[in-house]
Symmetry: D2
Subunit: 295 residues, 4 copies
């Protein structure tokens, strides 16, 4: 019926020791169409119409037919990324238990070239990489810490300490594993947030694999619609629209006035003060081919 059998079994490597593997899927593009037909009446007969219907559903946020597809993944991921992952509440989860079993003997390691500098513009982000000499020193210290982590965990187990307590000082870089089962609508929501450039590198790596290498093959029509209407869509706020409208009408002074009233434009000594919302607007405008000038 579907070719998802091909998706199963292959384990796709992520980070230094993680993976994503498809355990099972329910439904495919045709299931979305089938469900939409129940809701919206008879409808389409040909595959070309299926694509149009799926795109219509995505464009108009008729989300329930996408919930009719389900995927179950087996993932291996550092606990730190898993902490973010698990915040998506609409999923079913079975995680490896370090109460029942000894912790997985693997920790995410950082190569000397992979240490990221704290972003200045974005409190939650990171920017360029540190110089490799400094990175080398940090990676050595990381190895030293992991060594002590392992030794002390083992000492506790050897002394007879309960696994649930012995694990208390495991580092967040420790890999965990889980079965994670989610419907396609909620998976798209996860991907929209976690494939975003602002998502942390680690979880973004998993999201990219799930999106580009699994969902794109599993439900190609839905994936294409998701990319066109959500992932690469641009949101223009009411404010953005006001300013664009004035700029396109050639009313630069009025546009500037509006921007000022929105608090986008304030002066300090040396001219225009940095303003995040204005900066975001300018990026959007540029993508549309507009270069706003402020008077």
């Amino acid at each position: 019926m579907t070719n998802t059998t091909d998706l199963r079994g292959e384990s796709i490597k992520v980070l230094d020791d993680g993976f994503v593997r498809v355990v099972d899927t329910m439904g495919d593009d045709s299931s979305i169409v089938q469900a939409a037909r129940i809701s919206y009446g008879a409808g389409t007969k040909r595959v070309s119409e299926d694509r149009g219907l799926i795109r219509y559903l995505m464009r108009n946020r008729h989300t329930t037919p996408f919930e009719m597809c389900e995927v179950k993944l087996h993932v291996r991921v550092p606990m730190d990324a898993w902490r973010q992952w698990i915040r998506h509440r609409t999923a079913n989860v079975n995680e490896y238990s370090t109460r029942y079993s000894e912790a997985i003997d693997a920790k995410q390691k950082t190569t000397p070239e992979s240490w990221r500098v704290q972003s200045r513009s974005n409190k939650q982000g990171s920017g360029d990489y540190l110089a490799p000499e400094i990175g080398k020193m940090l990676s050595d210290r990381e190895a030293e810490l992991h060594q002590l982590d392992d030794t002390i965990y083992q000492e506790r187990l050897d002394a007879g300490v309960a696994r649930e307590q012995a694990r208390k000082d495991l580092p967040l870089s420790t890999y965990t594993e889980a079965y994670w089962k989610i419907d396609l609508h909620n998976l798209f929501h996860f991907l929209a947030l976690r494939m975003d450039a602002h998502a942390q590198y680690e979880i973004r790596s998993y999201a990219n694999v799930i999106g580009n290498e699994i969902v794109a093959k599993w439900v190609p029509m839905a994936w294409e619609a998701f990319v066109d209407y959500r992932l690469e869509a641009m949101q223009l706020s009411r404010l953005d629209q006001v300013v664009i409208n004035l700029l396109l009408a050639g009313k630069v002074a009025d546009a500037t006035e509006a921007a000022k009233s929105f608090g986008w434009i304030t002066e300090d000594g040396d001219g225009l003060k940095a303003n995040r919302e204005r900066a975001e607007f300018e990026i959007k405008a540029a993508a549309l081919g507009l270069t706003p000038t402020w008077l």
Copy 2:
């Protein structure tokens, strides 16, 4: 892998014009075991051990492995029963839309023998059946009403009224259809509530079909465990335990005293006043082979 293919496609009749049909399933008994192994470590190797593990999980309310199975049903059900059904929030739903399409031309009808009397003991329940002569009169009136319902709905459509408004006076007995997708843990919760003797006859009819004719075949080990540890389990409150303990110790006076302190026993003129919690206790005690006497 599983024999659930056999479950698909067959449409099982419920009520006078309803049905339940399996559209798709994900997983089976072995998927529960597989997920439990991730959480609880290596574990079982033989089918006989699978059964034991599944029973262990059910008995100890380790519910997440049951969430790893998913079923998608196509149901046809009167809107009134659907109103109760939809209250179970942890499910995915695509319902037939009477905004997009004309309403389904079928209403639940009541035969003369099927009119139920309001229960006296249970404000929300029903008891015996009305005499067929009275039932005949009620069924005739029902037919008359359905006739007028149909005529007026058609008049509105003929006059060009929007479907979303024309439907406003459809009776709750009108059949609707839906795709309903749910994981096994939440389905068990639905079944525990809706197979219960206090559930309304209509939705109970659907729950019985889903439980006995679908789930029992789909995941036979999980179903058996559900019956043993939940559906036919008995809950003894702290109060129940106190009284049983005293009764088994032969301390009838103390048991009566305890029952009084719980408010189970109060007198009015003609002796023991009816008390619902005491009545429930007596049913449970009887099932265990105890006949409490109160002093």
Copy 3:
């Protein structure tokens, strides 16, 4: 601390016999800020900064701080609108039970001027109003049907039929009541969908009251941010952006070519065939001050 006390108690009329009433609220604008501070660190000190922070959160879809506000409403609404309402799963609900009590003796009535014509362009919508003479006839028939509905419901109760069965033919226009409790983030989601022009008139009436008359007063800063960044935001798809970019660069032929490749432009005998996505694009373009011409 907050002035929400003023919101409580007042019952706001909706439709001919419905209402919305605030039972209780938890939190206000300052609670959103307080929660954001926990997540995003120290932060703001002045009210002017509170507004900026709330707008930042809304703009960047940091949704969890909005979940820290909760509102409990008492609503009275026709069952047909309630059927749509209840599809929003992330809420707590206690609905009036017609198993326990006799049905509320009120049905939504339609005045002769209020019968809406089926929309031709939108399968799920309605357009203009029918002529009042026709409306008069339809309203008379509605009254006749409601009369028979009432009579038969009463006959059943008089004959001793259980309430749970007597109600089976109540029309969807019957009013029901419920307590509905929801957090602000999920309420915004409800409002975004139900204040939309495509939502059915009845539920839109409730959404407008909840939004404009309750939320706007309860959390004025969050409401303003919601309007600016969600309710009145415009979504430009990847396709929309491609075409706008070409149009702004004056490349009309290329824009037309792109539109053709998207399937927006196809000819039938008499010129450009109607296409819904192109029509939606043209509306968005017009709002920005662009009038696309296709070659």
Copy 4:
């Protein structure tokens, strides 16, 4: 209206450096009654009847009225316990972000007397305490590890590493803080699982504080009903009932036969083999005053 004001503000200490603090509440016992009245009709007038109604709701698992109460807590908890906590999906959460801010400089420490031995009977549990001399050695090593954790975290920050990456090796014992908002029904579910003797000591400590020191004061009637009908209730499986029935009828041989058929009784060389379900049964029987003998 309620006296919950008294609950707010006080921060209750848990573990060595954690706490629970009530930020806000919505509703109280009377709100449960109020919501039940909407669902189940007119009802009670006096406080004594309120208690009876609340107990009736709890006994019969009419859970929705309990959802009408909401509580918001501010908690400080080691990440390891938080990992379990966050698995309860039906709650609103704002957690302290170590992407935005430096990690909280506090880790759960273990005194020499507090190291727990791995349980033999229970794969996930712990039993007695290790001898203090061994504990002393383990606590010293713990301090040594925390010291290195701190030093390396600081080295990374000093080198300019992004906070989101610097945190990667923080130990699970690191304290985090969160706002956690949940309705009373789901809180009871949390408490039933986490106040249980099988829950890990750390999270159980929080659950006990929340239950005994907060909920018991906030909604005393609901709390009492919860204790009587859920927390201290006993579940008898279908199997348990069969055996009790036979034992009470004096049919010891039949009871033994039944137990054998359930797999509770198998022999190995030295007599009765350990069986977990039989052991659980014997504990329940003993609580009821029965001492089963097997033939």
